[in-house]
Amino acid sequence: MTLVTDILQTALPASTSVALAASGEMLNERAGTLNLGLEGVVSLGAVSAFIVGTNTTNPFLALAVGTIVGAVAGAAFATAAVLVRANQVLTGLALAVGGVGLANQLGNGRQGALLISRFEPVEIPLLSDIPVVGQALFDQDPVVYFAFGVLPVALWFVLFHTRHGLNLRAVGENPAAADAVGVNVSGMRFAYATIGAALAGAGGAHLVLGYTQNWSIGVVSGAGWVSLAVVIFAAWRPFLVVLGALLFGAMTSLGFVAQARDWNVPSYVLAMLPYIVTLVLILIPAGLAGFGRRLRGSAAPGSLAIPYFREDR
């Protein structure tokens, strides 16, 4: 079934940026903050990684720069949204618009430059010999392994099996309760807004360094917005987040594969496919569960997007 192999093989690097950004945003939202500015963060990460990547041969350095840029953007957002407690929707949108603008401005004129550091696939022996999936899953670049292998496991462990994760989840569900027992609500929210954005920046970096291996205005093309949707789709669970990202990437790859194999489906229909499939996958369980069942809505952290004031009653 080389079709599956083909699809998976291209899907993984295609969706790594979304996997990283969505994982980061999931952490952020678990702490109770909503960052609508992901598109801006990913764009900034992408352009800064590109700029560094046209000047050095070390992809990890470019990746690091992209991550740090994302963290800085996240810290700026967190200062406004968490410390000052400004309206999160507005602040996030400001980051989305301003971040994309700034990123495009920084990259404008450099479009043709040659990217001299890229992420190349690293084959894992033995595992890559598994029929069907081996070639697809185990011949990818290191960032892919991290995003789909290491990261979800680490997040799952921290969130559900450590004291810190327990406190984090409480902050998102009921910050008053967490505050009452001495958890530093603002500190947690600030930290995770920054960490989440750092991951999103890394996602943007990989988009350029490991997938398109190029940069242009609009190279990000909605990855940030899609990440937001994936977090909701995955009900804020680490494994479902990367699964959702992968599903998305697979549908996108299906499009490319279909074109390559001359399936005679209009490219536009194929481009719609990932979104349609995601939509259907959200609607079917909700419909089957019957009336009155609160799917997805109740899985949201209880205090999402509501700023916390200790002395609010």
């Binding site: 409480a170 569900e173 009921n174 309760a177 027992v181 200790r310």
Partner: protein, 541 residues
Amino acid sequence: MRSRRTSSTGPSRVCPASKADPGEAGAACRAVPGVVARNISKSFDGVPALVDVDLELLRGEVHALLGENGAGKTTLSNILAGIYRADGGRLEVDGVERQFHSPAQAIASGIGMVHQHFKLVAPMTVAENIHLGWEATPRRIKRRALVERTAGLIDQFGLRVDPEAKVWQLSVGEQQRVEILRVLARGATTLILDEPTAVLTTAEAGDLFNVMRSLTAAGRTVVFISHKLNEVLEIGDRITVLRNGHHVVTCDAAGVTARQLARMMTGEERELSVEHRDTSANLPVLELRGVTARSARGLIALHDVDLVVRRGEILGVAGVSGNGQSELAEVLTGLRPVDGGEVVVSGQRLTHAGSRRFADAGVGNIPEDRIGTGLVRSAPVLDNAILRHYRSPELSGRVALKRRATVEFARRLVEKARVRTPSLHSMTSILSGGNQQRLIVHREALVATSAFVAMHPSRGLDVHAAQDVQAALLDAREKGCAILLVSDDLDEVLLMSDRIAVMYEGRVVGVFDRRDADREQLGLLMGGHDAPLTGEGTERR
């Protein structure tokens, strides 16, 4: 205003051990101050909440903090617990001066507070909630380990609750136990309970008192904030009364009566009894005939219930919460669908009608969660005032609202209800809780032209507000309304009702005239035991 202060030292009455364990005397008897607060002042946005208040808590005592809404009890406690910072005054714990900048610091000094509105994370388990934000929690957590540690705490303090249950599944009383456990686990030696019995049944309150006694016997201090005079006298060793942010008196519980306390709390005398009416000959207004209905979770909550409420009477429905009373009230106000039987209001069949038709039939409704269900806090006072009447021809046409008429209506309502608001267009959330309650009660009184359904009407309210509600209900009775009063506070039921019905497991298990009602007998029926029936006994209507 200088306050009268009664000396708080004295003979063995103050002695902590004497109440819990009369045998212990002598050595352990020297009253030891634990937390001492002097000259505490606090203002919010220029408005004083506490003025020069003193509080001295002794080790091993239950100290009751009594006062009306706005008296400053919760503010004072929040200062002790590190949630607020005092503007002036000093605080000493075990002789050392302290300033708390956060609840964590207060806990570190041994002061822990259980709030009126619980601060628990609903989707998490009891064990997880207990271990939140606690340094003693192991870094790596295994579900088993947390559950075992929690079980250990449960045994140690005798507060029974299932460690693996999710908080949202627990009853209110059980949730409260989790809150208390959490504070005790962190080593609190001074426990502040803010209106703990407001949401408990009589039986659960009794359990709580036992817990409090065992805590003080072990040398801890419990601060019991309340406005319920009977309970304060029952469980308190000493009582401090606050009024309008000022300290009025601190005295021994032994030497004071409920009447005196009430006077000190409010500054005025209070009537404590309600005249009974014989309504057996009156026309029925609200009727349930063989009604069966399900609860929100889908289980049968009402089994074939027959009930009649007559003109000009108050029918009190007694029973432990959760035996179908909520569903009963909802069925009578159009908020719950009926599976079988009939609901009749003034002769009209309204079995499948919505809340609109019930309101049109003149049935007023004070819901269980008054503010959460009956008010839109983010809306102007005007919008809330017309919430139940806006469809009437007086206030609107087919499409448009009649602006001037609505403003006039709201103005009259606000005046009648004595609601203090800067303007009719102010957001309702800036009103005090008491003003919000009054708005709801009087608005519903306007709706109630033929009947009034009131669910736990004075739960969580202070003396003044509770009186207000009772006055509104009595007023409605005067006008010939049929009133259904549901309450798990047996005192309230016995005070207000002309007839009393008892509910158990979705059935009406007895209906009595108030004069024939016996506390003990009612208690038995509420607990599901058959009791010899007297008076109207066998009659099921």
